[in-house]
Subunit: 315 residues, 2 copies
């Protein structure tokens, strides 16, 4: 039976392997690097930041499954063979990301950091508070994660706009697309949520020029940014400059170009920045392994793989 | 034309008066105390913590409208005359409360205070995170505010249970009621949200005995409490003791027996307590004045007032 190879770095392979063995006891499960066996027997790779060049050494590889949101770690391999790369689309991962986005949008909307500072000073003072219906949240990236976050924010009453590379429609959410639609989207956005994939086209997109286009004529002194996508999209120095000049009133960053975020980064202790350790949507082996095995089963029955990445776009 | 009296303390009457005049330009609007005129001409009182005994001095009073969530401030008047007391039920107020509840439940669920502490120490460490679907939030009080919060939490994936004095049913939410149902409700609740009215029956209800019944066998070291109802419900010393012993892992308190919370309160600087200045659901004059005027218009057309309080229950 064609073997499944688990090839991960930066996370503990043990629960993934245990879950694979538990759910597919008759399968031949291999673990890179210690129990890889004959590379020619591997048909499927379950990967998270696998070492570059590994896939090219698997002559009978049929598909690569990414074990977390995003496939940029796969496409970073310059020797990537021509096999389907499959994104994880799983309700568990989607719900986790929605929790994170809703939490951090509400923290900005309800001025939680201002109230935190007041609490430290024992200050009891209420500030004017716009209702969600008077605030526009803009979600960049309308894939499965972006759509779910947009719908959850809409149901809390926010005016939600969405932007994506290609045209998409969503009920009750105004959508914009492409370079031509970007400025109009930004100009109406007070809280910007980034859920775009990391591709050559999105590299460094969250820069000062973009931030300065955000709407800032509300109760807030500036706009807010939540980046739960990839660190490659943001220009740290520009975010700091935007916070300094006031075009940005606050930022929540879950991702960074260098992870873990180096101790020397001025982002760590900036009073207007909330840092989380790339935990917006953790991959839980339980639902995700079941998801991958379902796909393999479908594939072996001759059905097409779902959520295969478009290589030209990179997502 | 029968006059409308605005009688408020603890908040600025100016925007309320301006809104009343703007939306009802032909109405006779009076302002306590400076422009009250002849008390016998007052038919309606729009009140927020009006001085005790005031209503009894209005011989032709037809109805009292509370300008915020809760009517305990009205029933605190020992000379309250026998006229209908009307609660505010308004989508604006309800949405604001839902924002607050969702924000603070998510802050506890996603361990935001732990990540805040890590950020101050420049620590990049991810902690195990249960999905919302593995966490039970219990909402006490299933009036308009409680039901809206419960539905919003359910749509984020939480297991939601509800408790109310009298039996209520809600789709996808397990409900409990009365003294007989309280323990079963508490035993399955990991994050407790209190939205009960302040009545003699709920006074001091959030005590150590109740907190100790909450579920605490999850990833968290104890349960969490969000009180956005009234300070009279909570026993501050018991909350502090519960935090100390670990039966409570964290608390968000928007309300206190004494407001503003005295500077000497140990709650202010407790690392596991989040304090907000009774701002969970601010009354916005714009939608709420329109709501009250609509009710007066209905009443004068001979239609019954909506949302009249049951005096025996006090809500």
């Amino acid at each position: 039976m064609p073997a499944i190879l688990l090839a991960v770095t930066g996370l503990d392979p043990q629960p993934w392997e245990a879950r694979l063995r538990a759910l597919a006891p008759r399968r031949d499960i291999r673990l890179w690097p210690q129990r890889m066996g004959d590379p020619a027997e591997v048909a499927y790779a379950c990967a998270w930041h696998a070492p570059r060049g590994l896939f090219a050494r698997l002559p009978r590889l049929q598909a690569i499954f990414s074990l977390g949101a995003g496939v940029d770690h796969v496409f970073a391999d310059p020797e990537l063979p021509d096999v389907p790369v499959v994104r994880i689309v799983d309700p568990d991962l989607t719900m986790r990301m929605t929790e994170y986005v809703v939490l951090h949008v509400l923290m900005h909307h309800r001025r939680q950091r201002l109230y935190d500072a007041q609490q430290r000073e024992r200050v009891w003072r209420e500030h004017e508070q716009a209702p969600a219906s008077a605030v526009t949240v803009g979600v960049m990236g309308l894939g499965v994660l972006g759509r779910a976050a947009a719908v959850a924010l809409r149901s809390l009453g926010f005016c939600v706009a969405g932007w994506s590379r290609t045209a998409k429609t969503l009920p009750e959410i105004e959508t914009f697309h492409g370079d031509a639609g970007l400025d109009a989207f930004l100009r109406r956005t007070e809280i910007l949520v980034c859920l775009l994939p990391a591709t050559p086209a999105t590299q460094g997109m969250l820069d000062r020029k973009l931030i300065r286009k955000l709407k800032r004529d509300g109760a807030a002194a500036g706009a807010y940014l939540v980046n739960a996508a990839r660190g490659a999209l943001q220009v740290d120095a520009d975010i700091l400059a935007a916070l300094e000049e006031g075009s940005l009133a606050g930022a929540t960053l879950d991702v960074f170009a260098d992870e873990p975020l180096p101790a020397a980064s001025p982002l760590w202790l900036h009073p207007k920045v909330t840092i989380t350790p790339h935990n917006a949507a953790a991959s839980d082996p339980r639902p995700l392994v079941a998801n991958v095995l379902r796909q393999i089963e479908r594939f072996e029955q001759g059905l097409p793989l779902e959520h295969v990445v478009d290589r030209a776009r990179g997502y």
